[in-house]
């Protein structure tokens, strides 16, 4: 039975929207989970020449199913090149060779600064999160960063409890002042819509909603007074092909366990 184009979840829409943001032929630094799913959907649809780079040292991986970790064997055995971890960060990420970095977030603020370290006080955390991993330097050095995260007031906060990865700091001049060479976040894709930094203020602005979502819903799920573009576009619903590819990938991953 082929999936109907009206029958999809908000998470599927988010993943498909993220996959569409990846241009064919670009090099993409991929974290595990949703970014890896989105990148693998892109590679099987509009971007067959997308280069998947995993921080474990696999460059140009073509995984046949979804890996559970960023270092699964299939990432190395299907890669164009396998390099050490110091090399992936020093030779590949740091000089600006990677076009797109994909990041998730436990908290994000209006300037797209990201927290994945702690909720609450650092020394007495309410929730201790995994920490930085590769994210600070991905956020600093990729040509652009795409953040993918579910929309809620708990996540979209006025102030992040800890800056793990810098978006635009406290305003439009900050990246240059800090000497960060990459362009910073170009879009934040959620299960409700897409935010982009305002070209003048660098503040995240709602530019697109997913089908069936009202801009007001997005404002209500945001912990600050969210700026909304004059013209809010509507994302094209996932195509049958996109859903088929996505669901096949997820099935293959579940089956592999």
């Amino acid at each position: 039975m082929s999936p109907s184009t009206t029958d999809w979840t908000a998470d599927e829409m988010m993943t498909v929207a993220a996959s569409r943001a990846l241009r064919d032929g670009s090099a993409c630094f991929v974290g595990i989970g949703l970014p890896s799913t989105a990148a693998n959907v892109a590679r099987r649809t509009h971007a067959p020449d997308l280069v998947l780079v995993y921080e474990s040292g696999a460059i140009g991986s073509k995984p046949p199913s979804l890996p559970l970790s960023i270092g699964d064997g299939m990432l190395a055995t299907t890669a164009d090149a396998v390099v050490s971890v110091p090399e992936i960060f020093n030779y590949w990420l740091q000089p600006g060779r990677i076009d797109v970095g994909f990041l998730g977030a436990a908290q994000i603020d209006r300037y797209a600064n990201i927290n994945t370290t702690v909720i609450g006080d650092y020394d007495h955390p309410k929730v201790r999160l995994p920490g930085a991993g590769g994210a600070p330097e991905i956020a600093a050095s990729c040509r652009e960063v795409i953040v993918v995260v579910r929309h809620s007031k708990r996540t979209f906060v006025e102030r992040v409890d800890f800056i793990t990865s810098v978006g635009f700091g406290s305003g439009p001049e900050d990246r240059e002042r800090l000497g960060l060479r990459g362009g910073g976040p170009s879009m934040v894709i959620t299960d409700l819509g897409v935010l982009e930094p305002d070209p003048d203020t660098a503040e995240l602005t709602l530019v697109r909603v997913h089908p069936g979502v009202e801009p007001d819903e997005v404002r209500q799920a945001t912990g600050w007074d969210l700026a909304v573009a004059d013209q809010v576009a509507v994302t094209a619903a996932p195509s049958e092909r996109e859903l088929e590819v996505l669901r096949d990938l997820e099935r293959s991953s579940a089956g592999a366990s």
Partner: protein, 276 residues
Amino acid sequence: MAGMAEIVSLQEAVAQLVHDGDVVAMEGFTHLIPFAAGHEVIRQQRRDLTLVRMTPDVIYDQLIGAGCARKLVFSWGGNPGVGSLHRFRDAIQNDWPAPVEIEEHSHAGMANRYVAGASGLPFGVLRGYVGTDLPAHTATIKSITCPFTGEELTAVPALNPDVSVIHAQRADRRGNVQMWGLTGVQKEVVLGARRAIVTVEEIVDELDARPGAIVLPTWTIDAVAVVPKGAHPSYAQDYYERDNDYYRSWDAISRDRDAFLQWLEREILNGAGSTA
């Protein structure tokens, strides 16, 4: 370090080379994680260790829960693809079973600390951490000015563990170690260490060529121990696959102190086991 590696049992290697209070780095980036050696350290009840590892995933969750750690130096503490490390969180949030001090970095920072350690330099240099809150909480992240360009860069001190522990596919009878696939920071962590233990899947007469393989010469290693499946539940390329179910099942075991203690008793203290 000089002389050839001794080929010994894992029990002997840990007994001779890992001491209470040591700085211990067990590395392997998803691939070739030295789980069996970690379990042996728990079994021999080492205490007050400073545990160093980029991704203190399930292996350090087990060591922390078992009370081996005094301090953790790391850059990402999660169960890859599954979620949180509950023993790690319980130690940091609730001091159980003992308080654990943390020294927190990014992957790029940790990688450069190992490179500096292997290079015999006092520090590594990178473009990193700038604008984040990490330097305010981690004393081992400092700003440095490039003497040639004036650019502000970040310096991180070398890591030179008392003992480094890795797992590799195989060694020859002289103790030369060969590994391939994703080799992470294992070369750096061995070359930067005062003492090094390598567990291997097998010992062979001849290390024939493998694509992309690296060899650590026997004289860079103190002890080689043969431990088939010594990286389980992680994997050893061309030997066995990653046991994803183990990582998933670890979530429930580690969430609950009693379930964890029962696991510890059953699988580690009373068993030879590395199964969940």
